[in-house]
């Protein structure tokens, strides 16, 4: 029998979520009693595409 995949575990164990983006989604999960942590996300490098391209190569 093949080992249990992460996606299979997702269906059988309680969700423990990390929310990145719209905070409503985190609040929604919290109101359903789901464990969730909200990431206070902001665009990398202030959204500067040249810097993002550099960072993608070196970070």
């Amino acid at each position: 029998m093949e080992p249990e995949k992460e996606v299979d575990k997702l269906l059988t164990s309680p969700i423990s979520a990390i929310n990145i983006g719209v905070e409503d989604f985190a609040e929604n999960l919290a109101t359903q009693g789901t464990q969730v942590i909200h990431v206070n996300w902001s665009p990398p490098a202030g959204g500067d595409s040249e810097i993002i391209a550099i960072l993608d190569k070196i970070l």
């Binding site: 997702l10 929604n28 999960l29």
Partner: protein
């Protein structure tokens, strides 16, 4: 202005702390300036130079706190000096909590995380999804505007790690009873859903719930997953997972028609599946996808849900909201001969798509900004023509604006502008309840419905407004309340998108003119 000073013997405070308190004292009404310093010779000199008179005579030493206030009146200054202790002894209030800024930090605080819910702007979504996968998290990717190349890369890398990417542009999933994104509150059951569309999933989960069945999981895969570019990577993973899942008895797959290569792959996988599979490829011609080994094909969401309930061993509960010839007859009598067209103003993309299919199958194909066939593409989304069904959640409407499921104002505007057109017979709407959606979507469009009817009435017309409501009685908006609000506004309400479109078709197609 007066200056009043005082000294607190043998009270040592940090100089930086005192600067802060000075600032606070200076902000009190009637106070011009306030100085709080320890009484060192140097500080006394600085204060004297700064015009705080009478300091030298206090006889302060380095261990004494000196306060000097410039104020409108002696009384004001005295009041502040008397209340000094309240400023010096600070009430810290609530402790601040640390906000995490990256997935990495979130994981250190919640190491057992198993899912990343990502809804950042599309241009940054791939980066975040990559980070999540790298750290062993499944991904629910709500963000759209992710390129097909990025989608393929993400899904391939996820699949190698045994993880799944739900999305991009994934509106809805329900995992183990938990609604992700826009989802409805539904009871648990044995129908497992794989949905390439958000509102399609919302519709079938709501129907299944109300028709007496329930959902094990609903796994969103993103609208392009079954294209040949992606090859159904997430769909195949979802089939594998639901096949193994003990709570799932049947699998329902909803998508636009797959690419031909991908269809062959999917059919092959389904043939080996231990559970019955129902497919519903919306937009396709009826009968294009025949039943095969282990596959029951269906043509619309109502049919799909009915089949799933049956194959799961259940019996569909009759809601009694079917279209009756009497109501058609009554409504038809109000329309004038020149009122010929249906105008759909949808918040749910799949509900719009399904409605287009219903109209096409009835021989009254509609234009759309998201059409079934290219030749029915509206030349400008802002201008409807003949039968037009609009997806108000499409990019051209939502860039920089909230989605119509969250805020109805764009839809309200469009409903009113459609009502101006005397050739319009039916305005066809949807109203989607559930998590994250507006708290009162029915109320928001009810006002527009009343106004639209008024506009028609002013030129002597009656306008038919048909609304399909998607939701359950356990959604926080309350299904019955939402139905009542819409009916009070004069709308004909169905709890199924298919039925509402079917109603519009029957209303218009059987007329003598």
């Amino acid at each position: 202005m007066i200056t009043e000073s005082a000294m607190l013997k043998n009270r040592y405070f940090d100089s930086v702390f005192l600067m802060r308190i000075s600032k606070q004292l200076g902000e009190q009404p009637g106070i011009h300036y306030a100085a709080l310093v320890m009484g060192t010779p140097k500080n006394i000199e600085i204060l004297a130079d700064a015009g705080y008179s009478g300091i030298e005579t206090l006889g302060a030493s380095s261990n004494d706190l000196v306060v000097s206030i410039k104020a409108d009146s002696i009384d004001t200054a005295q009041d502040v000096i008397n209340s000094l202790e309240n400023f010096l002894v600070r009430d810290t209030g609530k402790p601040s909590t640390r906000r995490v800024k990256t997935i990495e930090q979130a994981l250190t605080q919640q190491p057992d995380s198993n899912l990343a819910v990502i809804s950042v702007p599309g241009e940054f979504a791939t980066r975040e999804a990559r980070q999540a996968l790298k750290r062993g998290l499944n991904v629910f990717l709500f963000s759209d505007h992710v390129s097909i190349e990025d989608e393929l890369e993400l899904k391939q890398s996820a699949s190698e790690k045994g993880l799944i990417v739900m999305g991009p542009d994934c509106g809805t999933s329900i995992v183990g009873g938990v609604g992700l994104g826009f989802a409805n509150a539904v009871q648990s059951g044995t129908i497992g859903i794989i949905g390439a569309s958000g509102t399609g999933t919302q519709e079938v989960t709501s129907l299944a719930h109300r028709w007496g069945s329930g959902i094990s999981h609903a796994i969103g895969v993103g609208g392009r997953d079954l294209s040949d570019d992606i090859g159904g990577i997430s769909t195949m993973q979802a089939i594998d997972a639901l096949d193994k899942d003990h709570n799932t008895a049947v699998i329902l797959l909803i998508s636009k028609p797959p690419g031909l290569k991908t269809l062959a792959l999917v059919n092959q996988r389904i043939a080996a599946c231990s559970k019955p599979v129902i497919t519903c490829f919306l937009g396709s011609e009826k009968g294009l996808f025949p039943d095969t080994d282990n596959i029951t094909t269906t043509h619309n969401l109502d049919e799909a849900t009915t089949a799933a309930i049956r194959l799961a061993g259940g019996i569909r509960v009759d809601e009694g909201s079917e279209i009756t010839p009497e109501s058609i007859q009554r409504e038809r009598g109000k329309l004038k001969p020149n009122q010929k067209y249906v105008r759909g103003v949808f918040s749910g993309g799949t509900l719009c798509y399904q409605a287009q299919q219903v109209l096409r199958d009835a021989g009254m194909p509609a234009y759309s900004n998201e059409p079934l066939e290219k030749d029915k593409h509206l030349s400008a989304s802002s201008k409807s023509t003949e039968h037009t069904l609009l997806d108000m959640g499409a990019d051209e409407f939502t860039i920089g604006k909230p989605h119509p499921m969250v805020d109805s104002s764009l839809r309200v505007e469009r409903i009113l502008s459609e009502a101006q057109d005397p050739t319009v017979a039916v305005i066809l709407l949807d109203c989607i309840l559930g998590y994250v959606a507006s708290n009162d979507p029915g109320g928001e469009i009810a006002l527009a419905i009343i106004d639209a009817k008024k506009i028609a009435k002013q030129r002597g017309d009656e306008l038919t407004v048909v609304v399909s409501i998607c939701g359950t009685e356990i959604d926080h908006q309350g299904l019955d309340q939402q139905v009542a609000v819409l009916e009070q506004a004069g709308a004909i309400v169905f709890k199924s998108g298919f039925q509402s479109a079917e109603y519009a078709v029957q209303l218009l197609s059987g007329r003598s003119n």
